[in-house]
Amino acid sequence: MKLTLRVWRQQNAEAPGAMATYEVDGISQDMSFLEMLDTLNEELILGGDEPVAFDHDCREGICGACSLVINGDAHGPERTTTCQLHMRSFDDGDTIDIEPWRASAFPVVKDLVVDRSSFDRIIQAGGYISAPTGTAPDAHATPVPKPDADSAFEHAECIGCGACVAACPNGSAMLFTSAKVNHLNVLPQGAPERETRVLDMVATMDDEGFGGCTLTGECATACPKGIPLPSITAMNKEWLRATRKVRR
């Protein structure tokens, strides 16, 4: 396949950016999208240009590093991570626009790489169960009903890629935050910190500059792991419950 790529180039966080146009040829349908970009980068290096910077690591759809907006969609046309997108989703002669996640809480580092450390700070605010090493009772001491365990798992699948934020017209991180709140709050082990967890994580989310949620649902549509939209309403319920219970 022969393709025209229009790629966001930006030297660093301070510099202004712009779209640059490149042609690539000899692209196989079996290539992953990132392997297609590898091909472009090899050519750029040999031509003495700087390759396009992009985040990627496991290339198996689980680490959450890859983060491209492709033709206006976070992770592109399929419901998967960018690294699991293959060129068979495109046609010969296509023009493809490639941009970084766009959100004020995710400043651009270079080209297609953004800074998502705000997500880490939301987790640091309460996305954990305080269980210092060595304090645990036997794993079977507290049975967890299967539906609760399954629900916890479903939310724990979040890979922290940030597609939800990139897809949201408000740049909101509600789906990400709610996934962690619901993973931990549904478990008996998470109960003692249930209220502080949701209050502190939501407060940090707001402080980090993420937008408000208007339940447009773009986040859940873009999520490569299928975190469901009702996750947000469940968190809102948790938050309301906590504000009534905890006087701060």
């Binding site: 090899e42 198996e60 689980i62 640091q124 299967k146 082990q189």
Partner: protein, 652 residues
């Protein structure tokens, strides 16, 4: 440039006689060691700083636990977030001798299985400790909220895995590594918020600082600004993972690399059993030259999937057109007791053999079928979906084939490295104050790792072993002398790092870092991969110095060092692969026996199994660095088996 004979003409130095494991009954050694270790008073711990490099299962759990104990921790990861370390990609599960199935499991059986699975090339004391701790790991992870699979009664589910006959593997669908890593990441996040851990993400260790013979810090590069900085501590812990990416194509993440351990090796940490690499039997075959990495399909698939190839050579009919009696379920045929669940090294070699015979399937004949038709008939599609759904989806996405309809095609790929920095029972390297944990060390898996044991070892080291042993070092080595960037040893390490990066930028040649990585990787796969011969290894050893020389003449790295520069990062990692590859080949050449993942064609049983030569090779080979391209010095640690008598492994 040294010629080949120089590098292979290594000297055997003094043996490693004391690995610091206590004597006495194996089941009491860990208690004994913990009791004998000196402790640091809780009030004094905050005065000690520990550097932890890496945030995977080993590093994340170690950083969190050391901080909980009261130490000041400085932690590094090259990813943008600690949550992305490659442990995240482990699929299948984690072993623990809980015996929740009441199927005859015990600590002793896990110990036995691991020593045997490792083909009698691991230290008994370490493996027994690992088996003991396995039980506590599950408790710890459940307390953290790790959502393991559960049954309708609310209790934890288990499954079986290759190389064993009990169900002792705990799992979270096909995402066990991710869930365990998030547990460690969250514990670490809690300590970051508490101010006990100072995290540097997007920061890569490029050298170790050794002062007066002790590890005192690291040189690291901020990958965003390019700034090279030094960090100091009372002890340094490397949890930087394995070195499988030396092969270019592997199941490792793209950025996983060997620089931290290799630089430590150059500074005096001996490197043990570098040739022990694991080739995982169930990966998705490559599709062409553009392939950048390989994707693993969890070994748990072998619980229900049946592996086969056509009986006839060159049979290119589609799988569903090949009648049952023309299929060869070769693992079930040759190993009736374990069937499709033989250990990884055996399953991988068997796949290679049938492909070499011309019976492979798919493009280039580099594949075998993993068929779920029988499982779907037996359990129903729904149950198969529940158990393996996400793996099937992943396969379908990559290959555009539906594994519910057509059998999967799989082929072996480099997956894990059992070798690593030599460590004693305390997980301390040969540099005092430098510890190595998880895949970065060589300690527990011998010549072959059993499935679901990497997660177990990473977490055992990080949550339980290191936090109990590092106290002893810190208590005995109170550092009164402060060091800073002006110290000659520090200035030297920084200058060397800067010179290396500047040189990479200055060559301005005509080949990309990736092209060299691919070249060394292909060479290693051909000559130091699934089957090795003296002739092939000598060939590789002749070629590697030439590639190295060409690298420094022709490498091209655009941009500058004072910026985010992924080409520079890559090129610098390739520099180290080009040295490590040489040591791997030398180790493989010197070990003229087959054991576990190391298969020397000259040493096999009449029916083609790996033939160990215990009289000559029952030792761990620890290599001491001398200079680039110069022969290293071999130090042997003899392995003594008091409990598990070495036998020819049999899974028939």
């Amino acid at each position: 440039m040294p010629d080949l004979s120089d590098y292979t003409n290594y000297r055997t130095g003094e043996p490693l006689v004391d690995a610091k494991a206590p004597t006495g009954p194996v089941a009491e050694r860990w208690d004994t060691r913990r009791f004998e270790a000196k402790l640091v008073n809780p009030a004094n711990r905050r005065k000690h700083t520990v550097i932890v490099v890496g945030t995977g299962l080993a590093g994340g759990s170690a950083g969190a636990t050391l901080a909980e104990q009261g130490y000041h921790v400085i932690q590094f990861c090259f990813q943008d977030s600690p949550r992305r370390a490659h442990s995240v990609a482990a699929q299948g599960g984690i072993n623990a001798a809980k015996n929740y199935r009441n199927d005859g499991d015990s600590v002793h059986r896990l110990f036995y299985d691991t020593v045997k699975g490792g083909d009698f090339r691991a230290r008994e004391s370490n493996v027994h400790r690992l088996a003991e701790i396995s039980v506590e790991i599950i408790d710890q992870c459940v307390a953290q909220g790790v959502p393991f699979a559960r049954e309708y009664g609310g209790l934890l589910d288990n499954r079986s895995f290759g190389g064993v006959q009990v169900s002792r593997t705990f799992y979270a669908r096909g995402q066990t590594g991710q869930q365990l890593l998030l547990g460690a990441y969250q514990a670490l996040s809690r300590q970051i918020a508490a101010g006990n851990v100072e995290l540097h993400s997007r920061t890569e260790m490029l050298d170790l600082v050794v002062v007066d013979g002790k590890a005192r810090g690291i040189v690291a590069r901020d990958l965003v600004t390019g700034k090279i900085d030094t960090y100091f501590a009372d002890a340094v812990v490397l949890a930087s993972g394995g070195y499988g990416n030396v092969f270019y194509l592997s199941t490792n993440a793209m950025n996983s690399n060997a620089t931290a351990i290799w630089r430590a090796h150059r500074r005096g940490a001996w490197f043990a059993n570098p040739c022990f690499t694991q080739i995982h039997p169930t990966c998705i075959p490559r599709t062409g030259d553009h392939q950048s990495k390989l994707t693993l399909m969890s070994e748990s698939l072998r619980n229900d999937g049946r592996i086969w190839v056509p009986k006839a050579k060159g049979d290119d009919r589609p799988a569903n057109r090949i009648p049952e009696d023309e299929r060869d379920y070769y693992l079930e045929r040759v190993y009736p007791a374990f069937g499709n669940l033989v250990p990884r090294d055996i399953a991988s070699r068997a796949a290679k053999n049938v492909c070499d015979e011309g019976r492979g399937v798919g493009p280039g004949g580099q594949g075998v079928y993993l068929d779920f038709a029988e499982a779907i008939e037996r359990m129903g599609r729904k149950k198969v979906e529940e158990k393996y759904g996400n793996l099937f989806d992943m396969y379908a996405r990559i290959t555009a084939e539906d594994p519910y309809e057509t059998p999967m095609r799989i082929y072996p790929a480099v997956h894990y490295t059992m070798g690593g920095l030599w460590v004693d029972y305390d997980l301390q390297t040969t540099i005092p104050g430098l510890f190595a944990i998880g895949e970065a060390n060589f300690s527990d898996h011998g010549a072959n790792r059993l499935g679901a044991s990497a997660l177990m070892q990473g977490l055992a080291d990080g949550y339980f072993v290191l936090p109990s042993t590092i106290n002893d070092y810190l208590a005995r080595n109170p550092h009164t002398e402060e060091i800073d960037a002006g110290h000659p040893a520090v200035a030297e390490a920084v200058a060397e790092t800067e010179d290396r990066l500047n040189l990479l930028l200055a060559v301005d040649g005509d080949r990309t870092p990736d092209s060299f990585h691919r070249e060394i990787g292909e060479l290693m796969w051909e000559f130091c991969g699934m089957a090795r011969t003296e002739e092939g290894l000598r060939k590789a050893l002749g070629r590697i110095p030439q590639i190295r020389e060409e690298f420094w003449r022709r490498i091209k790295v655009p941009g500058t060092g004072e910026q985010f520069n992924q080409s520079l990062e890559k090129a610098n990692r390739v520099v180290d692969y080009l040295e490590l590859a040489e040591l791997m080949c030398l180790d493989a050449l010197h070990r003229a026996e087959s054991c576990g993942g190391h298969f020397r064609e000259e040493s096999q049983t009449p029916d083609g199994e790996a033939a160990r030569r215990d009289e000559e090779f029952s030792y761990a080979a620890a290599w001491e660095f001398s200079a680039t391209g110069d022969a290293p010095v071999l130090h042997k640690e003899d392995l003594v088996f008091e409990y598990v008598h070495p036998t020819q492994r049999s899974y028939a």
